[in-house]
């Protein structure tokens, strides 16, 4: 089996894997990143959203083998990140989750939206969240949480 070496949340992870292994399976099975959730496995639901070299990506439609040398960050790796810390608090405050399945992908995506756009309108937020499906909340709590976090971060 071919070998791949990449960096996951700062640690070097090197494994012999099948070429057909998705990055999502690699992260869950070889790097113990259980925040990476698999929903649709074709890029639509957003539950597996992570960062590759700092950029938002779907780990279910990236092949681990193709990412030799890449720097991958999952929600686990962002536990001390200031934006994520605030989002965590805001999701708690504004009821941003119910079952929690979509939450890791929501948080990683929300961080990206805040970093790129700062405080933004509800309409823009809903557009930017269109690639992350939640089947519990109806999004109202999630949108409120992200607006809450963006505002709190601006005040800091």
């Amino acid at each position: 089996m071919p070998n791949v070496t990449l960096r996951v949340n700062g640690d070097v992870v090197s494994r012999d894997i099948e070429a057909r292994m998705s990055l999502a399976d690699f992260l869950r099975e070889h790097a113990n990143c259980r925040s990476v959730h698999l929903g649709c496995e074709h890029g639509v639901c957003g539950a597996c959203t992570i960062l590759i070299d700092g950029r938002l990506a779907r780990s279910c439609i990236a092949l681990a083998i193709a990412l030799e040398g890449a720097d991958v960050t999952t929600l686990e790796g962002l536990h001390a990140d200031a934006t994520i810390a605030q989002l965590r608090e805001s999701f708690h405050e504004c009821h941003g989750l119910q079952c929690g399945y979509c939450t890791p992908g929501m948080l990683v995506t929300a961080r990206d939206i805040i970093q790129r756009e700062g405080e933004t309108t509800e309409k823009r937020l809903r557009e930017a969240l269109a690639g992350n499906i939640c089947r519990c909340t109806g999004y109202a709590g999630i949108v409120a949480s992200i607006r809450h976090a963006a505002e709190a971060l601006k005040q800091d």
């Binding site: 071919p2 099948e18 070429a19 057909r20 292994m21 998705s22 399976d25 496995e41 074709h42 890029g43 957003g46 959203t49 590759i52 950029r55 938002l56 990506a57 779907r58 279910c60 439609i61 990236a62 092949l63 083998i65 193709a66 030799e68 995506t109 990206d112 309409k123 809903r126 557009e127 930017a128 269109a130 690639g131 992350n132």
Partner: protein, 287 residues
Amino acid sequence: MKPNPFNYVRARSISEAIDLLASHAGEAKIMAGGQSLVPMLNLRIAAPDSIIDVTAIPELQQSGETSDGAYFGACVTHERIQRGETPDPSNGLMPRIAARIAYQAVRNRGTIGGSLALADPAADWLTTTVALDATIEWTGPEGPGSCRAEDFVLAAYTTRLGPADVLTGLRIPNLTQQARWGTYKLTRKTGEYAHAMATVVRSSGRSRAVLGATGGAPIRLPQTEDHLTGLKLWDDGAASRLAATMASDLQGVTLQISDVHAWQLRTCLIRAAQMSFGIEAPDMETI
């Protein structure tokens, strides 16, 4: 793990990729961003023996200005165009289109060449490149080839590319400063593939009006284009006149288009034309 097993090879040059494709006799597939191919692998719609990753080939990542426009290597991502990291020959049309393809996580990896090579009828770049009169370039066992975007797609998921051809990039001529564009697509949900789309580029020389998500290749509307070239302002009767020229253009088209689909395409065309006159349509409207 969902896909069938396959070998993975990272090609270092275009000629290496062509050799690999040719030696696998149709059983190998190129991978660029993987944003369409990996879903197809996961669903086992595609089950190639080998996957040839072309993203490490430096030429395919390049973009730059040319004497009369801009060049885009096949592996330029939607996100690079969205962010304005590449030259813009289109007075803002290309960044606007890029920003509305799929979702940010997909735009960060999906490429313009991958979209064109796949030729999903609803792909945004298929319609946009026809509206901008792009030239698409490839190289294969028989050497380099190229054609105008409007001749590139033969049918849904079918292009001029042969089984061992690599799409290398595309050239887009500059729009004049005076050219005005408009674009509109109907989707059920933001980021989803469109049910219908239209892009209009108005200029005093030659205007373009193109329908996309037709179920087949994008459709140019010659009579509508003539009409738009002469049109100086958008008045009360403009929408119905445009609908009439579009209906007459579609009579010459062999592709089957249902009444509902024609209605959707007409809506897009009218909104795109309005936008070219500075009238923005409601952005989040869905069917």
